[in-house]
Symmetry: D4
Subunit: 224 residues, 8 copies
Amino acid sequence: LRTGDPEVVYAAGKTTEQVAAIVKHLTSANPNRPILVTRADEAARAAVRAACPDGHLLEDATGRCVALGPLPEIPRGRVAVVCAGTSDLPVAAEATFTARVFGAAVEQITDVGVAGIHRILAARPALDRADAVVVVAGMDGALPSVVGGLTGVPIVAVPTSVGYGAAFGGLAALLTMLNSCAPGIAVVNIDNGFGAGLYGARIARQSGSGTDSGTLGTVTELPR
Amino acid sequence: LRTGDPEVVYAAGKTTEQVAAIVKHLTSANPNRPILVTRADEAARAAVRAACPDGHLLEDATGRCVALGPLPEIPRGRVAVVCAGTSDLPVAAEATFTARVFGAAVEQITDVGVAGIHRILAARPALDRADAVVVVAGMDGALPSVVGGLTGVPIVAVPTSVGYGAAFGGLAALLTMLNSCAPGIAVVNIDNGFGAGLYGARIARQSGSGTDSGTLGTVTELPR
Amino acid sequence: LRTGDPEVVYAAGKTTEQVAAIVKHLTSANPNRPILVTRADEAARAAVRAACPDGHLLEDATGRCVALGPLPEIPRGRVAVVCAGTSDLPVAAEATFTARVFGAAVEQITDVGVAGIHRILAARPALDRADAVVVVAGMDGALPSVVGGLTGVPIVAVPTSVGYGAAFGGLAALLTMLNSCAPGIAVVNIDNGFGAGLYGARIARQSGSGTDSGTLGTVTELPR
Amino acid sequence: LRTGDPEVVYAAGKTTEQVAAIVKHLTSANPNRPILVTRADEAARAAVRAACPDGHLLEDATGRCVALGPLPEIPRGRVAVVCAGTSDLPVAAEATFTARVFGAAVEQITDVGVAGIHRILAARPALDRADAVVVVAGMDGALPSVVGGLTGVPIVAVPTSVGYGAAFGGLAALLTMLNSCAPGIAVVNIDNGFGAGLYGARIARQSGSGTDSGTLGTVTELPR
Amino acid sequence: LRTGDPEVVYAAGKTTEQVAAIVKHLTSANPNRPILVTRADEAARAAVRAACPDGHLLEDATGRCVALGPLPEIPRGRVAVVCAGTSDLPVAAEATFTARVFGAAVEQITDVGVAGIHRILAARPALDRADAVVVVAGMDGALPSVVGGLTGVPIVAVPTSVGYGAAFGGLAALLTMLNSCAPGIAVVNIDNGFGAGLYGARIARQSGSGTDSGTLGTVTELPR
Amino acid sequence: LRTGDPEVVYAAGKTTEQVAAIVKHLTSANPNRPILVTRADEAARAAVRAACPDGHLLEDATGRCVALGPLPEIPRGRVAVVCAGTSDLPVAAEATFTARVFGAAVEQITDVGVAGIHRILAARPALDRADAVVVVAGMDGALPSVVGGLTGVPIVAVPTSVGYGAAFGGLAALLTMLNSCAPGIAVVNIDNGFGAGLYGARIARQSGSGTDSGTLGTVTELPR
Amino acid sequence: LRTGDPEVVYAAGKTTEQVAAIVKHLTSANPNRPILVTRADEAARAAVRAACPDGHLLEDATGRCVALGPLPEIPRGRVAVVCAGTSDLPVAAEATFTARVFGAAVEQITDVGVAGIHRILAARPALDRADAVVVVAGMDGALPSVVGGLTGVPIVAVPTSVGYGAAFGGLAALLTMLNSCAPGIAVVNIDNGFGAGLYGARIARQSGSGTDSGTLGTVTELPR
Amino acid sequence: LRTGDPEVVYAAGKTTEQVAAIVKHLTSANPNRPILVTRADEAARAAVRAACPDGHLLEDATGRCVALGPLPEIPRGRVAVVCAGTSDLPVAAEATFTARVFGAAVEQITDVGVAGIHRILAARPALDRADAVVVVAGMDGALPSVVGGLTGVPIVAVPTSVGYGAAFGGLAALLTMLNSCAPGIAVVNIDNGFGAGLYGARIARQSGSGTDSGTLGTVTELPR
Ligand SMILES: Nc1ncnc2c1ncn2[C@@H]1O[C@H](COP(=O)(O)O)[C@@H](O)[C@H]1O
Ligand SMILES: Nc1ncnc2c1ncn2[C@@H]1O[C@H](COP(=O)(O)O)[C@@H](O)[C@H]1O
Ligand SMILES: Nc1ncnc2c1ncn2[C@@H]1O[C@H](COP(=O)(O)O)[C@@H](O)[C@H]1O
Ligand SMILES: Nc1ncnc2c1ncn2[C@@H]1O[C@H](COP(=O)(O)O)[C@@H](O)[C@H]1O
Ligand SMILES: [Mg+2]
Ligand SMILES: [Mg+2]
Ligand SMILES: [Mg+2]
Ligand SMILES: [Mg+2]
Ligand SMILES: [Mg+2]
Ligand SMILES: [Mg+2]
Ligand SMILES: [Mg+2]
Ligand SMILES: [Mg+2]
C-alpha cells in the first residue's frame, strides 16, 4: 500500500486477544499510520476500543469495522455506495467505512432495488456527482447492470451471499455481475465490501471532483 | 396434451428424412391435428414444405420453426414476448411462434435491455395488456427482474446461452432468473423458447382478456 | 405488486424485534393492506400475533407463515398444491398459504409420489379442476414430469433441498425440473414455496374457474 | 472377466485400422472366445466384418456394436431394456446388444415415457418376467423412478447425454437417478449402455428364470 | 415393494416422537410386516425399543438401524459387504443391516483398502461365494475398481462422504465409481448404505447360491 | 454511454454482411460519433474497411478490432496493459485498442510473467506513471496478485481462457483474481479485453495525469 | 509404508478414547516403530501424552500433531516449508511436523506473500539449500507460481481452505496451483499439510544434501 | 529453469511457422542449450526437423514431442512412467520424453490397470529401482492409489481427459488422485505429461541411484 494508506487487519478467524495485540503492536510501531480493522465482532471492537483509550476512533457496528489513528481529514474524491436494502447492508457498510478510511467522501444510497426502478432513477444525481460507484447486491445480482445503464462512472460491483437455494452462497450474483450487459463494471469477491470500498477510494482520490464534500474526522458512528 | 393442442416434433438430432417421414405419418394419421416442428434448419423446413404442398403452412426462419394443419384461428388470450436484441432473437422467435401455434395472440418487443431502462418503461402498455409475459435474456439474465418490477402478470423467464466466459452456456442467466428479487417469475430451461411459448399460451388461453386481438390464420412469415 | 396484493415480509435473517417493528409500521402506515410474513419461526409468529391483538390473523406452523389485515374473502380461481410427503410439507405449506393469501382457493394433495403411481392417478380430478398446479418435490424431483403428463394446466415446479449426498441441496431436483420431458412446467428457486404460491395465484386470479370454491376468511390453521 | 465372457473392444478413439488389427489378433490368439466391439461406427464395423469373412457375426447399427465368435446360444436369464424414444435408442440398443452377447435374453420396450404414464403401466408384464431391468433416460432422467415403483427386480439406470441447456451433457439425468425416491435402483455412467447391459446380464445369469426365452445365435440385426 | 419386503422408515429429519408414532402405527396396522428404521440415532432407537417391548428386535448402533417384526429367518442368497476401515463403517453397517433385514446372508469384510492390495487378495474366497458384492469407499473411491478386477459378481458401489478438501462431500468418490475401469459396477447415492444393502439383497434373493448360509433370527447386535 | 463515447459493435456471432450493414447505418445516422467493432475476424474487418473508404480508420489484427470515425485525438489519462506473453496477446490487444479508442494513452507491457519476477520489477516505472493498470493472465491467473503488490493504482484484472485441463476455460484464472491476496484489484469476465480497456479508460479520463502522453489519431496498426 | 516410516493416525472424526486406544495398541504391538498422530485437538494430544508417560514425545499445537516412539535422530535431506502468514500456519505447521517426523530437517519461512515480493526474494538462500520446497497458500494460491520462478527444486504445493466467497473452500487455490505457469510444481489435497510434509521428506531422504543440518531428537515444541 | 535445463516451447495454439521461427531463434541465440517442443503435431515436428537439418534430434510421434541440441548424455537418476494402456499413451509418452530430455533414465510400463492387479504386482521391481514414479490414468484415476500401496518412492500422478460422461474431461480422475488413500502422491494438471516428466526428472537428478542406466543420445524414436 502507498504511504499514508492505513494498515489493515482482517479480524475474522483471529481471537479477540490476537486482534488487540496486533492493534497495540501496530500503534506503538507506527503511531502516525491509521489502522483499519474489518470483520470485527462486538467483542473485537471493544478490545480495540480498550486498546486505544483516548485516540481518535471511528466505528461502525453494521459494517463490523473500527478504525483508529490519524485518519484522513480532507476527502479526496467521492464514492457512492448503492444497495437494495436490509440484507446487503453489512457489506455496503463495510464498503462505505473502508472508502471513508481510505480518504473518500461517501454517499450511501440504500433503498434502491431492481424491482423498483423509479427509486434508482431518483438516485441519478448522486450517481452523477460520484467519481466511483460501489453497487452491492445479492440474490440475482442485477442491480449493477441497471446502474451501469445510468452512469459513465466506473462501477465496482460486490456480489453478496444473501439468498438461498440456487443463490449458491453468492455465486449466482457473482456470475450475473461478470456477465453484465452494461459496460463499465468490474467485480470483487463475494461479500468483499472492504475490497470494493478501497477500490472506489483509489479511483476517487486520483479524480478531480468531490473535494468539497465535507470532513470525515468527527464521525464516530455512520448513519444506517 | 389436451385435445386440440398441436403435435410437436423436435427436429434437432433428427435427419431431414426422419423429420419429413414423421410429419407425413402424423398428417395422414390425424389430418385434423396441427403439427409444430421446432429446431428445424432450412433443409428440414424445406422437407416439411415439400411434404405439405397445398396445406396451410406457417413458418419462421429466425425461430427455426414450421407449423402445418388446421392452426387456431381465433386467438385465446395474449402473450407478450420481450428480449433485448439480436442475439436472443432466435429463442424469442421460437417462443413467439409456439405461443401463436398454441392459440395465443403475441406481441413481440425486441429492443429492451437492462442497460437502457427507458425503453423498458416505454413498453409498459404492452406488458399491461398481456395475460402472460415471456422474457428472454442471455449474459446477465437481468431483464426479467426489471420487468417483474413493472407488472403483476405471470412472467416466464427464458435464459439463453448467449455470452462467453463466465456465462457458462446460459448457466449465469439461469441462476439470475431463479434468484430474481422480483416475485412472479418462473423459469424454463436454457434456450427453451418452445417451452416458454407453450407455457405462456396455456396461461393466456384460460384468461379472459385479449380475445379481440386479431386472427392468426393468414400469417406466413413472422415479422422480425 | 398490483393494488390489493399483500405486503410481504421475509423473516429469515431478521430478529424477532425487527419483524415485529416492520409489521407494526406497515399496519399503521396502511391499515387497508394485508401483510404476509414468511419464514417466520414460532417466536416471530408470536411477536406478530402480539403486534396484532384483535385483527384478523391467519397462521400456519408447518409453512412458518402468518398473515394479517383485510385478507381476500372471495377466492379468485383455484390452485392445486401437490407433494409426496412428510419432508416436503413445509415448502408445500408455504405455497398453499401464500396462494390463499394472494386470493386463490387451494386444494392440497400431499401423499402422491413418483414411486406410487396409482396415488397420482387418483388425484387427477383435483388436477383437472385447478387453474394452476404447484408441484413440490425433493430428491429426484421427478414428480412434476409425471404430473405434467396428466394435465394441460400450467405447472409451477418447486425443487426442495430434501435429500442428501448427490441431491446437493436441491440442485438435483432443480435440474430435473428444468429438463422435464413433459411440456407445461416452469420452475422457481429451491425451497421457494412462497414464489410458487404467488405465481399460482397470479395465474388463477385471471382465469375464469373456481370462483365458487369457498371462502378464506375464517381459517386460522391450515389442515395438514 | 470370468471364463466364457467375451473380450470387449472399445472402438471410440481408435482408428479403423487399429480396431481391425485388435480383432484379428484376438481371433487368432483365442478362437474360442467371443469378441464384442462397442462404439464402432459404420467404417469400423465394416472392417470387423472384413476381418471375419465366414464366422458368426452379430451386428447392430443403432447400438454401434458388432460381436463375433462363439456367442452364447442358450440364454441364461432375461433382461428388460426400457427407454422413452428416439433419442435414447442408441444407448438402449448398446445395452440390449451387450446383454445378449453376455448371454441374456433381452426384451426391449422403447416407447414409454414419464409423461405418458399409461404406456409404462402397459409394460408391467414385461417388467415382471425380467430378472433385471435396464432403464435408459435423458433430459430429466425420471423414468427409472417411475419404473422403480412398479417392480421389485433390480434396476440398472443409464443416464444419457440427450437434452440441452441445463441437461449439462447428462449430469441432470445422472443426479436424478442417484437421488431416486424409489429403492432398488443403481446407476452407471452417462451413455454407458455397455456397462448397463453387462450388469443386467450378470444379474440375470445367476437368476433362475428366463431360460426358455429363445435363442440368440441367428440374429443379425436387432429390431428397432 | 414386493409382498413380504419390510416397510422402511427414514428417521433423519424426524423427531423421536414422530418415529415412535409411525412405528406404532405400522405395527398395529400390519403386524405381519417387518419394519426397518434407518438413520436412527440412539434416542430414536430407544423409542422404537420402547414401542415394541416384547417383539423380535434387531438393532445396530454403528449402522444406526433398528428392525422389528417377523424378520426373514432363512436367508435367500448371500451378500458380501466390503470396506476399507473405520470411517466407512457406519455406511457399511447400514448396508449389512439392510441386506439382512431384506433376507440375505451377509459377510462383512472391513479392513481392505486400495493401498494394501494383499488384504483384498486374501478376501477373494468371500467375494467368490457371494451373489452380490457391496463395496463402500470414501476419499478416492478406488476400492470398487480393484474389487471389480477380482470377481464377476455384480458389484454395488457406495461412495461415502468421508474425506476433506477436494473430496467435496463424496463427489470425488462418486465420480471415481461411475468411471470405473472395471466392468460390472453400478453406483448408488453418496452414503446410501440402505440402498446398496437392499439392492444387494434383491440380486441375492433371485440367485441360487447361499441358501445354507445360516439363520438371521437370533442376531441382536451385529459384530463390528 | 456518455456523450462522445464510441458506439460499440460486438461482431462475434454476426455475419460479415450484418456487421457491414450495422456500421453503415451507424455512420450515416451519426457521422460525428466514433464506432468500435470488436471480435471482428479478417473478413469482418475488411467489410468495415470497404464500408468506410476514405474515413479515419484504426485497426488491430491481433486484437481483432477496428474503429472508425472522429476518434479522440488528445489522450485523457494513461492506461498500462500488462500480460505474460504470446497466448494472452489477443485479449491484451483488445484491451489496449479499446482503451485508446475510449481516449486513453496506453502503454503495453507484454513479457512479464509470474515465474520471471525480475521482468515485472523492471516494469515498475510504467506501472507508476499509469492511472489504471489492466492485467491480463490465463492459466493460474497469478499475475494481478503480484502487480497488486507493486502499485497503488486501480488494477483491472482480465482472466483468459488460455490453458487446458483444470484451467476450465478461464475459470481457474477468474477465481484466482477474485481471491487475490493483494488489495486494489477488480475483475471482468473471462477474455473480456474490451470491458477492461473501457474500464481503464474511464478511470484514466477522470484522473489528472497523463495528458501529455502523445496523440492517438495517426496510428493505423498497434505495435505487437 | 517402507520399514522405519512412522505409523500414522488421523485423529479427525475419532473420539479421544479411540485415539488413545489406537496409540496404546500400536505402542505395545511394535515398540520400535514411531507413531504420528495428526488432526489431534488439545484433548486428543493430552490423551496421547497420558498414554505415553515416559517415552520421547514431540508435539506441536499449531499443527495439531503429536509424535512418539523412536523418532529419526539424524536428518536425511532438507525441506523448506513456505507460507504467507497467520491463517495458513496450521497447515504449514502440519507439513513441517510431518516432514521432521519422517526424517527431514525442516526450515520454515512464514512471512512471504505474493503481494510483498521482496520478502520472497529474501528467502531465496533457504530455497536454494533445500531438497524439496513445500509451499502453503490459500485465497488466490499464487505463491507457488512465484516460488517456482525462483528455484529448480521440486515444489509441493498445498492449497488451503483459507478465504471466503469465491475461494470455495480452497478450490480457487487448488485450481491456481494445478495451472501454475511455473514448471516443477505438484499439488496435494486442500489443507493436506501431512501429505505435503511426507512427500517433501520422501524426496529429501533420497537426495544427497542437507545431512549436516542438525538433529531432531530434542525438539518438543516447534517455534511459531 | 536452472542452467542446463532445456528451453521449452509449447506448440499448441501456435502456427507451424511460429514454431519454426521460435526454434530457429533459440538455436542461433544459444546453440549450447537444448530445446524441447511439446504438443507438436506432425507438421510442426516436420518444421522443426527442417529447421535443424544436421543437428541431434530426438522425436516421439505418440508423445507429440521433438527435442534438439546438446541433450544430456549421462542420465542422472531414473524415472518409471506407468499407465494402463492405449488411450493414456500420448500423455505417458510426453512424460517419458520430457523426463529423458531433462536428463533422467526412463522405464515405461504401459499395460498395468487397476482391474488387472497381477500386472501391477509384476511391475514392482521396476517401481523399486526408480527414484520417482509417474503414474498416468484417466477415467477413474485409481491407478496411483494402487501404485502408492506398493512403493515408498515419490509418485507424480497425471490425470488424463480419457473417458466420457461423468469423467468430465479428466475432472473425475483429478479428484480421485487428490484424495488418494495412499500417501506419497502429488498431482499435476490434467493431461500434463510434460509437467510430470519434468517433475520426475527433477526428483531423480538429485537422487543417488540410476546413474548406470544407459545413454540417451542415440534414441530417435521411443518404443511404444
Ligand atoms: N474484509 C476483508 N475482505 C478481504 N480482505 C481483507 C478484508 N479486510 C482486510 N483484508 C486484507 O487482509 C489483509 C490483512 O490480513 P491479516 O494480515 O490476516 O490481518 C489486508 O492487507 C487486506 O488486504
Ligand atoms: N424446442 C424444444 N425444446 C424443448 N423441448 C421440445 C422442443 N420442441 C419440442 N419439444 C418437446 O419434444 C417432444 C417431441 O420430441 P420428439 O418425439 O423427440 O420429437 C414434444 O412433446 C415437446 O414436449
Ligand atoms: N438410509 C436411507 N437412505 C435413502 N433412502 C432411504 C433410507 N432409508 C429409507 N429410505 C427411503 O425412504 C423411504 C421412507 O421415507 P419416509 O416415508 O420419509 O420415512 C423408504 O421407502 C426408502 O425408500
Ligand atoms: N505440454 C505442456 N503442458 C503444460 N505446460 C507446458 C507444456 N509444454 C511447455 N509448457 C510450458 O510452457 C512454457 C513455454 O510456453 P510458450 O512460451 O508459450 O511456448 C514452458 O516454460 C513450459 O513451462
Ligand atoms: Mg439485486
Ligand atoms: Mg439481459
Ligand atoms: Mg419426487
Ligand atoms: Mg425421462
Ligand atoms: Mg478407497
Ligand atoms: Mg499468469
Ligand atoms: Mg497466496
Ligand atoms: Mg485407471
